[in-house]
Amino acid sequence: MEINNRIDKIAKQAFDKSSMESVNSGFTESIMAKISEANIANYLTITPIINKRTWFIISFSILIIIILSLAFIPANNNLIIPNVFTDTNFSNIIIPNINYHFIKINLNSATFYSIISFGIFFIIQILLINKMQQHTEA
């Protein structure tokens, strides 16, 4: 018991005697500079209006629509997308044998319209975001 008490006393002395380690000079200034930089960076960083999670949900929903439409909508409901390249016949103007490279794409009409709708909403959203951003900055 007495030994334990002495060990306790010496351990206490050891941690007093060992004294504290000291940081290099300029330690505080360095942290304050980093904090200042971080604050400026935060101020300058434009936080996205649509976060990653929302983008994931949008993409996932579109994917589900495409898969469902491909799986369940009858094949006779197909829509043939007009092939601008083949109909206009740019083959001799731009790239030789372009008709060979671009085949007609057969898509289900629901899929086609969902892609077109997504594209339109995407463009509207970009315009809205731009407007909101300008409003915030003002």
């Binding site: 050891a14 007093d16 060992s18 940081v23 290099n24 505080t28 304050m32 980093k34 904090i35 604050n39």
Partner: protein, 193 residues
């Protein structure tokens, strides 16, 4: 009169960022020491100490004052240092496998007499460095900061009983390391008295 930590925390939260330097100056040496106890390398310990203060600054609004600011920042330092250590994947030579049964009563009596009567700062520092990272951290809080076992348990996330056992075992380890590390000339000089 020294103003409380909470006074400066409120100032920082009200937009006076420069007041945070007072808190850094107040705790920098202890935080650095705690990081060094775990990481055992000055350069990396200083980086961990800086990260600790930056993390604390970023989370300052989450500090509700339910515990002391010091305990809160010690916890950040503890986690930051352990993360840093994991990241460095350094193999630190500690005395995890030391057999404290080697702490022979007859030998330790002599070693304790020597330790009590000598200024052995360097030997003590080296001995602390050889302790297991967490043991050294816990002993620093217990002996230097006079924190209770419950407070240390909250900081480290261990149970108070386990802290009690750890303190008991690690101070015995420390004594054994100190005893084995005593310079021969001191032992000889003391033995001739």
């Amino acid at each position: 009169m020294t103003k409380s930590d909470q006074f400066y925390i409120d100032k920082v939260l009200n937009g006076e960022d420069n007041k945070y330097s007072v808190l850094i100056d107040r705790y920098k040496d202890l935080i650095f020491t705690l990081c060094y106890r775990i990481i055992k390398d000055k350069e990396n310990a200083e980086e961990a100490a800086q990260d600790t203060f930056i993390k604390a600054y970023k989370s300052l609004s989450k500090f509700k004052g339910e515990s002391k600011f010091s305990s809160w920042i010690y916890r950040i330092a503890y986690n930051t240092s352990l993360d840093k250590l994991k990241h460095l994947k350094r193999q630190i030579q500690t005395v995890n496998n030391i057999d404290i049964n080697e702490l022979n009563n007859n030998n330790i009596e002599q070693a304790l007499d020597i330790l009590e009567s000598n200024e052995l700062k360097d030997q003590i520092k080296n001995s602390i460095k050889k302790l297991n990272s967490e043991d050294a951290f816990i002993l620093t809080l217990y002996y230097y900061e006079d924190l209770s076992m419950q407070e240390i348990a909250k900081i480290t996330g261990h149970k108070a009983n386990s802290i009690k056992v750890r303190i008991h075992r690690s101070r015995q380890k420390l004594m054994l390391i100190l005893q084995n590390q005593l310079p021969k000339e001191i032992l000889d000089t003391y033995g001739n008295k």
